[in-house]
C-alpha cells in the first residue's frame, strides 16, 4: 500500500471522468446562460451550484420558478429528481464503513451520477475499499471543479447574449436529451408517455402542480407495466 499506488489511483480517477466532463461543461454553461435569461434571482441561482451541486435539479428549479411556479413545487420536483442518488448512496455505503465522518460527508456532498458510475464500474468489489474511495474522490472533485467553472462562466457570459437567441429553450432541450438517455426499456417508455401526457392534461392546475401529478402517474404506470410483463 505505497503512496505511489494511492496517487496512481487518484490519477486514474481524474482520467476516467475527464471524457465525461466534456459533456458536463456545456450543460453547466447552459445552466448559467439560461438562468440569466429566465429572470430568476441570479446570485441564488449561481449559489445553487455549491449548495445543491446537482445539475438537472438546479435547472428544474430555474424552470419552475422562472415560469411562475410555487416554491414548494420547485422543491418537491428537485428532490424527486435527486432521489435516484439513494441507490448510489446505498452502494457506496458498502465501501465507506471504515472512513471517518469527515470523509463520509465529503463523499456524500460530491456524489454525482458520473463520479459514482465510473467508480463502481472500476471497483466492483467492496473489499477494495481504499482504491474505491481514492478513485471516487478524484473523479468527484474533478466533476465538482468542472461544474463550478462551467456554470460560473455561463452566468458571466449569459448577460452578453441577446434575448432574440431564445436561449431559455435550451432548458427543455437539455431535459429532452436527458429523457432520451433515461428511457431504456418499455416500462420506462410508458412512464415517460404517461408522465408527460398527464402533465399536459393537468396544465390548468395551479402552481405547476401538474408536474408532480404527471410524475407520480408516470412512476405508477411504469411499475404497473413492469409487473404485467413479468
Amino acid at each position: 500500500m505505497g503512496t505511489n499506488e494511492q496517487s496512481a489511483t487518484w490519477f486514474d480517477g481524474v482520467r476516467a471522468v475527464s471524457p465525461i466532463l466534456l459533456g458536463v461543461v456545456p450543460f453547466g454553461l447552459i445552466f448559467g446562460v439560461t438562468s440569466v435569461s429566465s429572470g430568476v434571482p441570479l446570485v441564488a441561482a449561481w449559489a445553487s451550484s455549491f449548495v445543491i451541486f446537482a445539475g438537472a435539479s438546479q435547472i428544474a428549479i430555474v424552470e419552475v420558478l422562472g415560469g411562475g411556479g410555487a416554491p414548494i413545487v420547485a422543491i418537491v420536483t428537485a428532490v424527486i429528481i435527486n432521489s435516484r442518488m439513494l441507490m448510489y448512496s446505498a452502494d457506496i455505503g458498502r465501501y465507506t464503513t471504515s472512513e471517518p465522518l469527515r470523509t463520509k460527508f465529503g463523499i456524500a456532498y460530491i456524489l454525482t451520477d458520473q463520479a459514482y458510475l465510473v467508480t463502481a464500474n472500476r471497483f466492483p468489489d467492496p473489499r477494495n475499499a481504499r482504491g474505491f474511495v481514492a478513485f471516487y474522490l478524484a473523479a468527484g472533485l474533478t466533476m465538482w471543479t468542472g461544474w463550478q467553472i462551467s456554470t460560473t462562466t455561463g452566468f458571466l457570459v449569459g448577460a452578453a447574449i441577446p434575448e432574440a437567441w431564445s436561449l431559455e429553450f435550451a432548458i427543455p432541450l437539455t431535459f429532452m436529451a436527458l429523457l432520451t438517455l433515461a428511457v431504456k426499456n418499455k416500462p420506462q417508455l410508458i412512464a415517460a408517455v404517461v408522465g408527460g401526457g398527464v402533465a399536459v392534461a393537468a396544465l390548468a392546475m395551479p402552481y405547476h402542480l401538474g408536474l408532480l401529478v404527471g410524475t407520480a402517474s408516470g412512476v405508477v404506470a411504469g411499475m404497473l407495466v413492469e409487473s404485467r410483463l413479468k
Binding site: 456545456p26 424552470e63 420558478l65 441507490m87 429553450f169 429532452m176 436527458l178 432520451t180 401538474g210 408516470g218
Partner: protein, 102 residues
C-alpha cells in the same frame, strides 16, 4: 428571497439523500419496492418537465408551435449520439430558422 429558500432547502434535502445510506454504514439495503419506483422517476419527471414546456409554451396548449419541431430534432440528435450537447447544437438552429421563417 424565496429562490434562496428553495436553494437552501433543496441543498439540505439533497445532501440527506446522498448521505443516507453512506451514514447507515451500508448495512441497510434499499427496499425492493423503492428501488423499482426509482427506475421510473427519471423518465416520468423529465417527460413531465419537457412536454408542457414544448407543446404548451406560456401555459396555453398549442401543439403546432415552432418549439415542437425544434424539440423533436434536438431529441433525435441526443438519442442517436447519446450526448446532451447534440440536442442543443441541433435543436437551437431549427428554432432560429423557424423563427426567421414564420
Amino acid at each position: 428571497m424565496s429562490m434562496w429558500a428553495v436553494v437552501l432547502v433543496v441543498g439540505l434535502l439533497t445532501f440527506a439523500i446522498r448521505y443516507s445510506f453512506i451514514g447507515l454504514f451500508g448495512r441497510i439495503a434499499v427496499p425492493e419496492s423503492l428501488e423499482r419506483a426509482l427506475r421510473y422517476i427519471a423518465p416520468a419527471v423529465l417527460a413531465a418537465l419537457v412536454l408542457p414546456a414544448v407543446i404548451a409554451p406560456g401555459g396555453t396548449f398549442d401543439p403546432w408551435n415552432i418549439f415542437v419541431p425544434a424539440a423533436i430534432g434536438g431529441g433525435l440528435a441526443a438519442w442517436t449520439t447519446r450526448s446532451i450537447g447534440a440536442a442543443i447544437l441541433v435543436g437551437m438552429p431549427i428554432l432560429w430558422v423557424l423563427q426567421a421563417a414564420v
